[in-house]
């Protein structure tokens, strides 16, 4: 994948549906309880519970900060898990769009019980950035809705470790995925009415906010996504064309050094 081929569809893991998870889960849970849910709605409810527990439970079981980072790294590296969840969620995009639109205020209120007051306050303080992050993802979905409609039929091939992916983009995609994993873990705690230990709440909130901020930098650099200059100054946005040129040059050198290594006699 080249820098030019990076589109919001790739830059927005799980089609940006993650911020909808808790509100849609609440809505569907209520419908199931009064036996008003359709088959699709029941499927999506199970899907949300599957996604939040498959990703959230291992994260919430971390024993310390290093263990938390190891667990997040493992989930981010699990291509099969990410691809299958991405595939399943993409099939139900329209249902997600019927859910209550996400807002930072609602996320902070919902997460307050699980994260504690101090971390909920951090989320509230980061509201301008988080609102821009949510908006950028909504813009990405709206702009690329047609492309996404064909998305469910094929597995996305996004290997963060691939040398064919420019290293700078790999870094931002890492943050996109870590922000997603972190908010899913927080959602898992909210859905399970689980109160996190203070160190875990702090570490997860910090990772979520830092990665959301970095993810937003990448989203703000993509054509067609508008982000306020006050939130992501133009000087902080990525020059995708320059990244691509640099990457092509570097790949050329890598190929030449590989050829040279192959021509060296074995020792």
């Amino acid at each position: 994948m080249t820098a030019a081929e990076i589109a919001p569809i790739d830059a927005t893991p799980f089609a940006g549906v993650v911020p909808w998870l808790v509100s849609l889960w609440r809505k569907l849970r209520a419908m199931v309880e009064v036996h008003q849910a359709t088959n699709e709605e029941q499927q999506v409810l199970h899907l949300i519970e599957y996604v939040t527990s498959t990703i959230g439970c291992p994260v919430l079981a971390a024993s310390d900060v290093d263990d938390l980072d190891d667990r997040l790294d493992t989930l981010i590296g699990s291509e099969a898990l990410l691809a299958s969840i991405q595939y399943l969620l993409a099939q139900h995009l329209t249902l997600f769009e019927t859910a209550e639109p996400p807002s930072t205020t609602r996320v902070a209120a919902a997460a307050g019980e699980s994260l504690g007051a101090a971390q909920a306050r951090l989320l509230t303080e980061a509201q301008p950035m988080l609102d821009a992050w949510l908006s950028a993802q909504r813009q990405g979905i709206a702009r690329y809705a047609a492309e996404m409609s064909t998305w469910a039929g094929r597995r996305r091939d996004l290997d963060l470790a691939s040398p064919d992916l420019p290293a700078e983009l790999a870094e931002y995609l890492f943050h996109a995925l870590r922000a997603t994993m972190s908010i899913i873990a927080i959602s898992c705690a909210v859905i399970g009415e689980q109160r996190m230990e203070p160190w875990l709440a702090r570490a997860l909130t910090e990772r979520f906010l830092e990665s959301a901020r970095q993810h937003l930098r990448m989203l703000a650099s993509l054509p067609g996504i508008v982000v306020d200059e006050a939130i992501v100054p133009h000087a902080e946005r990525l020059d995708l064309a320059a990244i691509e040129v640099r990457h092509r040059r570097a790949r050329d050198v890598a190929r030449r050094t590989l050829e040279a290594a192959r021509m060296r006699p074995s020792s």
Partner: protein, 158 residues
């Protein structure tokens, strides 16, 4: 063997610890660490950090963009678990920046002859042009626009 693996191997008689940044068949490109502190951008990993413990390192270790090599997979000893995504990305960024700077450029030597040269960053971090005709230019040299055609006949002939 795959990208992000931690490996141990021998390079020019020294035991090295590194991170796999690319796999091409039986050849593996490794970004390896050094305990020596040189000028230039690097990733510093301390021995008591999460990453340092996973190698494991015995002292602070630096990863430079220039410190890579292609090795046979069979010559590498793989570590128990991969390195963090953050370390892999940081090393890959330095390597890409370094590699991209190695493409040939038009460089004029002290005598006014324009060569095709690669700007090599030696270990101390200073750029030094190595010409296509095989000369290492000493100062004063200067970078020229691509519009300035090479005047070194050897560079043009090669």
């Amino acid at each position: 063997m795959r990208e992000r693996d931690i490996v141990r191997f021998e390079l020019e008689g020294k035991l090295r610890l590194g991170v796999v940044i690319e796999v091409q068949g039986d050849r593996v490109r490794v970004g390896y660490g050094t305990t020596r502190d040189h000028a230039g951008p690097c990733v510093l990993v301390s021995e008591d950090s999460r990453q340092g413990r996973s190698f494991p390192l015995r002292e602070p270790t630096r990863f430079y963009g220039a410190n890579t090599c292609w090795e046979r997979a069979s010559d590498l000893e793989r570590g128990a678990k991969p390195c963090s995504w953050e370390l892999l990305n940081a090393i890959r960024k330095l390597v890409e920046l370094h590699d991209a700077s190695l493409l040939e450029q038009h460089v004029q030597d002290a005598g006014g002859v324009v060569h095709m040269a690669k700007l090599v960053s030696p270990i101390d971090g200073e750029c030094q042009p190595v010409t296509r005709c095989g000369r290492a230019l000493s100062l004063p040299w200067q970078l020229m626009d691509k519009d300035a055609p090479p005047t070194c006949l050897l560079c043009m002939a090669i």
